[in-house]
């Protein structure tokens, strides 16, 4: 390449005529930046959520009445334990606690801190937490959003919950969960399982639902069948359902955006077509001269093709690079609100950098294919310029 007169001329021309390309690069940059930012954010969130799937139980058993989830009696757990191939049957207690006037809600989750797994996890989340101290009184761990909300509503030390039975339950704010876990813990309140039952007005024989694992993948369908016939008001949810829900979530916001984005792309294509037709018609004499000096149509096509590719690649690298900086270094201010929403507790999440072939190639294709297609006909038109133009 270094030793090729063609590339010498190409870069020379490109550089001397750089003003002509700046406009196109600028428009491309805006489009690429927007597109990449949105895709980066959505795929980063999806990545983080998919990572958590490994921690999720394989199966969840819930009880349905009138289309609503209701409490499950703990005796179901014993019946589940009788089935072969099922392990780590655990009860969960969780639910939303509403501030009716403000339409805000917390997710209260009861955790059995005696459990080995929970114990270990707690130490990963926070280095210094004295579990004995925590379990001594009515204490809670809260997510960043909850802590912020409580503080701004003058509850810096704790909160008094109103149980369905009409009693008040005062719970002391023990510690705030780290900011990095905001993606799932922002509106979460973690309390010991008995306390959660109390807040939700459940008795000790009731839990929200039951989870269990089936280590052998081949048994999944089998187990699902068996449990479904257990009880008529029972619903079984598998990990795959959750996986699919995440996939949809990602596709939903990203996909709707992409479809809206198509309109932008069409406009972009029209602008490009116009602009290149104009730029090239001013180059007619120029190209006619090249043709008169012995350049064939193929040579001019090659020149223009490389010129276009250079614009495409320069804009692509700059656009994606800028989006990377904006999303993963600066944390995507403003734009991330589209994904997080603003109706409930305000959330500030830390995005994990995610780059992969899927995103990068999607961005490239959706940008470069319309781009080059728009330029193709103007390029051809200029390439077949008659050499006699040079004589005029």
């Amino acid at each position: 390449m270094r030793n090729s007169p063609f590339f010498h001329f190409l870069t020379l021309e490109f550089f001397k005529e750089r003003k002509k390309h700046m406009g196109v690069i600028a428009i491309s940059l805006v489009i690429l930046f927007l597109l990449s930012s949105v895709l980066f954010i959505s795929s980063s969130i999806r990545y983080s959520l998919e990572q958590t799937l490994d921690q999720e139980p394989d199966f969840v058993v819930q009880r349905i009445q009138g289309g609503e989830r209701v409490s499950v009696p703990t005796e179901w757990m014993d019946r589940l334990l009788e089935i072969h191939g099922i392990s780590s049957v655990t009860a969960r207690v969780y639910g939303r606690y509403f501030f009716k006037s403000k339409e805000k809600s917390f997710l209260i989750v009861g955790v059995d801190f005696m459990d080995e797994q929970s114990h270990k996890a707690l130490r990963t989340i926070m280095d210094e937490v004295d579990l004995r101290e925590f379990l001594k009184g009515d204490n809670m761990l809260v997510g960043g959003g909850v802590s912020h909300y409580l503080k701004s509503h003058f509850y810096p030390k704790g909160y008094t919950f109103l149980t369905p039975k009409g009693a008040f339950k005062k719970v002391h704010l023990f510690k705030v969960l780290p900011r990095e876990s905001n993606l799932i813990a922002n509106d979460m309140i973690i309390v010991p399982i008995e306390l959660a039952q109390e807040i939700f007005g459940m008795n000790e024989e009731e839990v929200s639902d039951i989870t269990f694992n089936v280590p052998n993948d081949d048994e999944w369908a089998n187990v699902e069948d068996k449990i479904s016939s257990f009880h008529y008001d029972l619903r079984v949810i598998t990990k795959n359902d959750i996986k699919k829900a995440y996939e949809n979530l990602y596709n939903y916001k990203g996909g709707i955006f992409l479809i809206l984005f198509l309109i932008t792309i069409v406009t972009f294509v029209l602008i490009l077509y116009q602009r290149y037709s104009m730029v090239y018609s001013s180059e007619r004499r120029h190209i006619g001269l090249l043709r008169a000096l012995g350049w064939s149509i193929n040579d001019v096509l090659k020149l223009k093709f490389f010129e276009t590719m250079m614009v495409v690649i320069v804009a692509y690298i700059l656009g994606v690079g800028l989006a990377y900086l904006y999303v993963f270094v600066l944390g995507a201010p403003l734009l991330r609100e589209i994904f997080l929403g603003g109706a409930n507790l305000h959330n500030v999440i830390t995005l994990v950098p995610v780059l992969n072939f899927g995103i990068l190639s999607s961005i490239f294709l959706i940008y470069a294919v319309p781009f080059v297609s728009a330029v193709l006909i103007p390029v051809w038109k200029i390439a077949v310029t008659d050499p006699k133009e040079a004589m005029l």
Binding site: L39, K244, I265, S373
Partner: protein, 322 residues
């Protein structure tokens, strides 16, 4: 709107395919005009205009070829990532078989790439001659390519529009696995004979190419692709996966196997394409195409070495065959 059509990769893919189709439509109209009005001996302005427009057809086809090639890789990749949405699918095999259009689409894609490559080979030769001797052949070839691509674009939409995200599909172990007693190999071959055929045909391809036996080269090549496909799925693949029961042409495209499938299938198909094109050009048009043939032989050799290498490495590491 179905969840499938909201998937980013599907949107990007369908958009690209539609744009290409639009460009091809322009090229198609020009080609029809050329076929009707072309008169090379004429000095009329119209003839010169047609000669210039033929360059537009060439430009469009070149672009379409490059993008279609990239899109094939992207398509396989997109299908692979859809396997999360389609219940039961573990890899692209399940998603491809989610409805009747999938396999047809994949075959059409491979066919279209071959014919586009052939078109470009003919075009190159045609442009270098002094009187466009092959313009009718290449124009008719393009007309047929266009019709196939029109079908392909239709099948694209039909395929992605009809993937059911509730109905479970089969995964690759059911699609390609040996069911009890049933032999998936063609002509009732067993693995041993399949392997012998595989290496024999490879030798036949090399020998006929090097001794310039054009017809037998083509025949050997076609047989080789056919046998190679089954050999990879039912024998060499198991060494890539290191699992004797894992028969699947798609799983090797995944990250777990370092995307080696793209190399394996790429070398096989591109090698075959080039080999076939060189022999079609030589038999049909009496043009020497040594360079293409040599590249084809190199790619096929890489393919065979790669396949054999997986077996050899497995044997060296574990001391046994699967």
């Amino acid at each position: 709107m179905s969840e499938i059509l909201l998937s980013n990769q599907v949107i990007v893919y369908l958009l690209s395919e539609s744009i290409l189709f639009g460009l091809l439509l322009i090229a198609f109209i020009i080609t029809l005009e050329i076929l009707i009005k072309w008169d090379f001996g004429s000095y009329s302005e119209q003839q010169f205009r047609l000669e210039r427009r033929a360059y537009l057809v060439m430009t469009i086809l070149l672009f379409v070829f490059v993008v279609k090639f990239l899109l094939l890789i992207y398509f396989v990749f997109a299908i692979d990532s859809l396997s999360l949405l389609v219940p039961g699918a573990m890899c692209a095999a399940g998603v491809i078989s989610a409805n009747d259009y999938g396999m047809l689409l994949l075959l059409l894609k491979l066919l279209i790439l071959f014919f586009l490559l052939l078109w470009m080979a003919i075009n190159r030769y045609d442009l270098q001659a002094k009187n466009y001797p092959l313009f009718r052949i290449k124009s008719w070839l393009f007309v047929s390519i266009f019709l196939v691509i029109a079908i392909e674009t239709g099948v694209d939409f039909a395929y992605f529009g009809h993937i059911d995200t509730l109905e479970p599909v089969n995964c690759c172990s059911t699609l390609y696995g040996q069911l009890e007693g049933a032999n998936p190999l063609p002509f009732g071959l067993n693995t041993m004979i399949l392997l012998i055929l595989f290496y024999l045909l490879y030798v036949a391809v090399m020998a006929s190419a090097l001794s310039s036996q054009r017809v037998s080269f083509m025949v050997a090549l076609l047989l080789f692709v056919f046998i190679a496909y089954y050999s990879v799925v039912y024998f060499f693949g198991t060494y890539i996966y290191e699992l004797p029961t894992h028969n699947c042409p798609f799983c090797m495209l995944q990250k777990e196997y370092y995307y080696v499938g793209y190399l394996v299938w790429g070398a096989l198909f591109v090698g075959t394409y080039l080999g076939l094109i060189s022999s079609v050009m030589e038999i049909g048009l009496k043009v020497e195409r040594n360079r293409e043939r040599m590249v084809a032989l190199a790619l096929l050799s890489i393919f065979v070495l790669l396949c054999t290498g997986f077996v050899a490495i497995y044997y060296l590491r574990n001391g046994v065959f699967l």
